[in-house]
């Protein structure tokens, strides 16, 4: 058992694992945009879930109050996290559970490996879990000669295809039925060669494949949606029941959970059990909610372990503006409404966490100076749809802007030569910091006509503006600014002074 550490470390420890993009977002996005099948699959799937979610959310007259409550509970958890973790540890341990603390991905992976070896297993079944994806547990175990089988249908599809999930709730959202049938035929031993792509037949094939594993596995690995401090209880919310098989059949159960998943008490769970299913799958209630508190002699797993994962969460918590990103309950509502996610898909974000929450969470966990991740906060038009959808009211646009400013500041500190954007912003700041300078700058605008063609449209601009003119024209500027017109029209001495009233149309 690794040593217990409580409280926030003096210096933030940034997270590691599958949280780093390997290329900047614009480049990754360009590649994904070229995949027409991906766009069609994603557009169809996100629209379906989006509409379902809107319908079931509209049924609750107190939805806004629930969101407010969810947000307030999470904020109070963040404010007293060390104390709640201690309370949880005491109660979990008192009921026969064993707690392990992991500072980062490496520590967590090592702890899980040792526990599996102690149980004498070389094969484990897994409940769908974001935390284990974040730390790259499956890949790590494979290197160690332990095979980890995903039992969630969509996770299984992605795993069989040697692909990566592209959505936190619907990991195979980028694949359609025909593609799934091909994967099963290719990768599942003993599959019926006459398998069709009807959902029932595909589900049946997966069920037969998994059942054998459930019955033989000695160790299961899960994540957790919630941990209740007052009783030391863990909770997993799922749709298929495979999670419950894993949580009850094997003898050893290892849960890996981020420290932020805590809730003070059972009564708080009520709020989240209304918020989560409606926001994620658009259902009033999810089919399976499993809760377990330690060990029950002769029933269920007899060795119950919990790995409490930091992996950058302390660093995120130390960021006053970004902290609320830790409120996230991984419902995926934000990505289902995000126009950028809808067109680029999850892989473009390069992290376990895609979409709007990924664009803030990955840089918060790893630090904004992590080069490719620094492009993530710009992967948004700030349309605000994510904030509206988020059941715990994380103000994602505000945090995006905050992280952009962190990025600008961090580059200011390191780069010697300012980029085009830096120069333009500085110049614009000078011009726009005074009505008089603005008026003077507008005098030069008619020069823009020189750049315009005979149809008075600008079709090609150099430098960073080239991206704009790749698909859009810009109208030629007018002969007279509004300010000039006003001064002339109203003989306004104030404006006259500012515009010098010379018309050069």
């Amino acid at each position: 058992m690794s040593p217990t550490y409580l409280g926030m470390p003096g210096l933030p420890v940034y997270g590691d694992g599958n949280l780093h993009a390997s290329e900047a977002f614009p480049a990754a996005a360009r590649r994904e945009l070229g995949n027409a099948q991906l766009r069609a699959n994603l557009g169809h799937a996100t629209h379906t879930i989006r509409d379902k979610r809107l319908r079931v959310v509209a049924e609750l007259p107190d939805w806004e109050d629930l969101r407010e409550a969810g947000s307030a509970i999470k904020a109070s958890v963040m404010a007293r996290l060390p104390e709640l973790l201690e309370e949880f540890e005491k109660n979990f341990t008192a009921r026969g559970g064993i707690i392990h603390w992991a500072r980062d991905a490496d520590e967590a992976n090592g702890i899980v490996r040792d526990l599996i070896r102690d149980a004498g297993a070389d094969e484990v079944v897994k409940v769908k879990s974001m935390a284990t994806q974040e730390i790259g547990l499956n890949e790590y175990l494979e290197e160690q000669g332990i095979s980890a089988l995903e039992t969630d249908l969509a996770e299984l599809i992605v795993q069989l295809d040697h692909d990566k999930p592209s959505h936190i709730l619907v990991p195979a959202i980028h694949k359609n039925r025909a593609q799934i049938r091909e994967i099963f035929l290719r990768e599942m031993p003993d599959v019926d060669p006459d398998l069709t792509d009807t959902p029932a037949r595909l589900a049946e094939a997966a069920r037969l494949h998994l059942r054998r594993k459930f019955l033989s596995a000695k160790v299961a690995i899960s994540g957790a949606n919630f941990a209740l401090a007052d009783t030391g209880t863990l909770a997993v919310v799922e749709s298929e029941g495979n999670g419950r098989m894993c949580l009850t059949l094997p003898d050893t159960l290892i849960t890996v959970m981020g420290v932020e998943k805590l809730l003070p008490s059972w009564t708080d769970l009520e709020v989240f059990m209304q918020l989560l299913p409606r926001s994620s799958t658009g259902e009033r209630m999810n089919p399976y909610t499993s809760l377990w508190t330690g060990v029950t002699e002769g029933d269920g797993p007899q060795n119950v372990h919990l790995v409490l994962l930091d992996n950058g969460r302390s660093a995120a918590l130390a960021d006053e503006m970004g902290r609320s990103a830790l409120h996230c309950i991984r419902c995926s509502a934000c990505m289902n409404v995000c126009p950028v996610y809808e067109r680029t898909g999850g892989h473009a974000y390069g992290s376990t966490y895609p979409g709007p929450i990924g664009a803030i969470l990955s840089p918060l966990l790893t630090g904004i100076t992590s080069e490719e991740n620094a492009s993530l906060p710009y992967a948004s038009s700030l349309c605000g749809a994510c904030y509206d959808a988020c059941p715990v009211k994380i103000n994602i646009p505000e945090i995006l802007v905050h992280l952009r400013s962190e990025d600008v500041e961090s580059r200011r500190g390191t780069t010697k030569v300012p980029g085009q954007m830096d120069v333009a912003m500085k110049a614009a700041s000078w011009v726009m910091g005074s009505g008089r300078r603005m008026a003077l700058a507008e005098k030069a605008l008619p020069l823009g006509k020189l750049a315009a063609g005979p149809d008075r449209k600008i079709k090609k601009l150099p430098g960073m503006a080239a991206g704009w003119t790749q698909s859009r024209d810009i109208p030629a500027p007018p002969a007279q600014s509004f300010r000039d017109w006003w001064a002339k029209e109203h003989h306004d001495p104030g404006s006259e002074e500012h515009t010098e009233l010379e018309e050069k149309a």
């Binding site: 614009p26 996005a29 945009l33 126009p339 950028v340 067109r343 680029t344 906060p377 710009y378 992967a379 948004s380 038009s381 700030l382 349309c383 605000g384 749809a385 992280l403 952009r404 962190e406 990025d407 600008v408 954007m421 912003m425 500085k426 614009a428 700041s429 000078w430 011009v431 726009m432 910091g433 005074s434 009505g435 603005m438 700058a441 507008e442 008075r456 449209k457 079709k459 960073m464 991206g467 704009w468 790749q470 698909s471 859009r472 024209d473 810009i474 109208p475 007018p478 007279q480 600014s481 509004f482 300010r483 017109w485 029209e489 109203h490 003989h491 306004d492 404006s495 002074e497 515009t499």
Partner: protein, 273 residues
């Protein structure tokens, strides 16, 4: 009522006719419009791009220009600029620890309105045809911009006003609440994604069969219009203020005239000074 106009930088420099239309509407309702000459820009571009220190002088200038004037309310024909004034200025002041600027920015923000909110909530305009003489006999569709819709919660105010314009046919826009992909510097930094969003928006606009797309933000309309123009579409764009300001005597340009080479300007206030 004495109303201070915040023309916004893009209207001032690129779409002066939208500013003139706003003045015309307010004066027609019998109000006294003033133009605080020191104004320049709301600073949204700097703020949203993360250039906070560069945003400070811009925000300070806006606060100074508007608090110096004696007026009842301020108005801007732009949801996103009003959202910036209302939601971002005080936040920036707080982030640099300037409590004085925060108080002043909050005061300016509190009496700044987006045009349709001012017309509907304060000035009691319910029927543009009878109260303003608005006339624009064309088939149009309407794109509600994100910041007006989500940060200001403008709801149907702009569309409701448009519906009361004489002769106007308003075609519903499929997926109207989807972002057009502008997002300020997003359209430069993530130009490919922005273009993909724009392509979908413009396909939806084309599907309505409208001759023109209107909205409440000059920047979104510049983006949408720029894309339509590049595609060689016959659909043009025009700010909703210009449609409300359009009358039989002094009509706004028809959709086909708007996309032609020489864009005519119309509806001056008629006030000579």
């Amino acid at each position: 009522m004495k109303i201070a106009l915040f023309a916004t930088c893009i209207v001032d420099a690129m779409y002066p006719s939208t500013g003139r239309a706003t003045v015309s509407i307010l004066e027609r309702l019998g109000h006294d419009v003033v133009f605080p000459a020191g104004q320049a820009c709301c600073g949204q571009m700097h703020l949203n791009s993360g250039y906070f220190p560069e945003a400070v002088p811009v925000v300070r200038n806006h606060v100074e220009a508007f608090e110096a004037q004696d007026y009842d309310v301020a108005v801007a024909p732009s949801g996103s600029c009003v959202a910036s004034v209302k939601h971002q200025h005080a936040m920036l002041a707080r982030s640099i620890g300037d409590a004085d600027l925060e108080t002043r920015a909050t005061a300016v923000g509190a009496r700044t309105y987006e045009l349709s909110a001012l017309l509907t909530d304060v000035l009691g305009v319910t029927d543009a045809a009878t109260q303003l003489g608005s006339w624009y006999p064309h088939r149009i569709t309407y794109h509600p911009s994100c910041h007006g819709m989500r940060l200001l919660r403008l709801g149907d105010r702009q569309a409701d006003l448009l519906r009361t314009v004489e002769g106007l046919e308003l075609e519903p826009l499929p997926e109207a609440d989807q972002c057009c992909g502008f997002g300020g510097t997003f359209s430069l930094k993530n130009s490919d994604v922005s273009s993909a969003m724009l392509a979908d928006k413009n396909a939806n606009i084309a599907a309505t069969g409208a001759e023109l797309c209107t909205g409440g933000d000059a920047s979104c309309l510049m983006h949408i219009g720029g894309g339509l123009s590049r595609q060689g579409s016959t659909i043009s764009t025009l700010h909703f203020a210009e449609i409300l300001a359009s009358t039989r005597d002094n009509p706004a340009p028809a959709p086909d005239a708007l996309r032609g080479p020489a864009r005519k300007t119309a509806h001056t206030t008629g006030k000579a000074g």
